[in-house]
Symmetry: C2
Subunit: 225 residues, 2 copies
């Protein structure tokens, strides 16, 4: 399944992301009407990602956020109970998306196909939800203490799943350590969304990029000497 097809089936694109956030956290959101809340959440997240990507989450003041969203302080606080909770909502959504990607890729029996799908779907979802994944990576330190380990576990869990698949593909020990290949696979996937500025003007599209990563992983798995 290539990018276009993946995207058309993807549950978290457009407005539906904010609806998901609202449904998962409506206990802490003062505004109870979904229509109002989703509309403001969209403004708040888009503005947060825009400003934070330039200067960082902590340096972004709520007055910056008012200016960018067009909302007032009161309007902001009707959707979020504190500044911190914006980052927590992001972590929660990223966690949800990755867990669904993993679950879906592991449904099939062929480990080779499962690995390729996992790599592809990670790349596609981190592209569609780029600001969310980018934010979480760079702002994990801004999360309240209890949530920071969650963020690291999202990554460790993904590496573990990749490692298991590699070991199924190549049961005998090869030249390059499997855990190590798994770690590097994720690092290569992250490279694209973390260094977005490198790829904006690039002619390599995301399908080709995924192909290159998959080839590189295959070459590492089968490497001898």
């Amino acid at each position: 399944m290539k990018y276009d097809q993946f995207k058309s089936n993807f549950a978290y694109k457009g407005k539906s992301v904010y609806a998901t956030v609202f449904e998962r956290h409506n206990d802490s959101i003062k505004t109870k009407k979904q229509k109002f809340a989703v509309n403001n959440l969209e403004k708040i997240f888009k503005a947060t990602f825009k400003i934070s990507s330039k200067i960082g989450f902590h340096e972004m003041s709520l007055r910056d956020l008012c200016r960018e969203t067009g909302l007032s302080m009161g309007g902001i606080y009707s959707c979020i109970e504190s500044k911190d909770i914006i980052a927590i909502f992001v972590k929660d959504l990223v966690q949800l998306v990755f867990s669904e990607i993993i679950e879906s890729a592991l449904e099939q029996d062929d480990p080779q196909q499962a690995l390729d799908d996992l790599i592809r779907h990670c790349m596609y979802s981190t592209d569609i939800l780029h600001p969310w994944f980018y934010f979480l990576y760079f702002e994990t330190r801004s999360l309240p203490k209890g949530h920071q380990q969650d963020s690291k576990n999202i990554e460790l869990n993904m590496i573990e799943k990749i490692e298991v698949l590699i070991s199924k593909i190549s049961p005998s020990k090869k030249a390059i350590n499997h855990r190590y290949i798994a770690t590097m696979t994720l690092a290569m996937i992250q490279e694209r969304y973390l260094k977005h500025w490198k790829y904006k003007s690039d002619d390599t599209n995301i399908d080709e990029h995924a192909d290159e990563i998959i080839k590189l992983v295959h070459s590492a798995i089968s490497y001898n000497s």
Copy 2:
């Protein structure tokens, strides 16, 4: 040249890093006696790295810095003219170290050996100066606008040099794009110092880790199909 030998020849370890900072920036440092300045710079940088790695540079207040260094506000400001300049000094040192690593590795004629050395020396120097490189990666956004591009250029320059070496090793076009392999090589090097928390309790030492990266790069260069 393995880690221990590299480290014993390395110019920027221990106190000499702070002496380098002082020499390169003494025009903006009020304290003119090297002995005093170097001593305080050491305290300031160590404290900055410790606090920033946990909560981020912007969230670190100068009062935090006073507490951690044992210096007063006046003592801090005798060595740095503003908070921002701490980050600028870091960028400057990282730039210096990488440019010397590149220059030294490219002195030899064999491109295969030069590439292996470049990878190894990047890994070793980013390990020895871990807090400096880690800080620059995560705090590039905290740099004053004019300095942010410098930071990105350090990375782009390294990738370019790696790409040239790969193309010398493998002049004919192979299955995986050379620019792409170069980009991934740097991403793999960075993986270790960016996710330090993964490797603290790991039994893989840095020489073995460098070996694995070099094997993986070789496998990518020679991959067919």
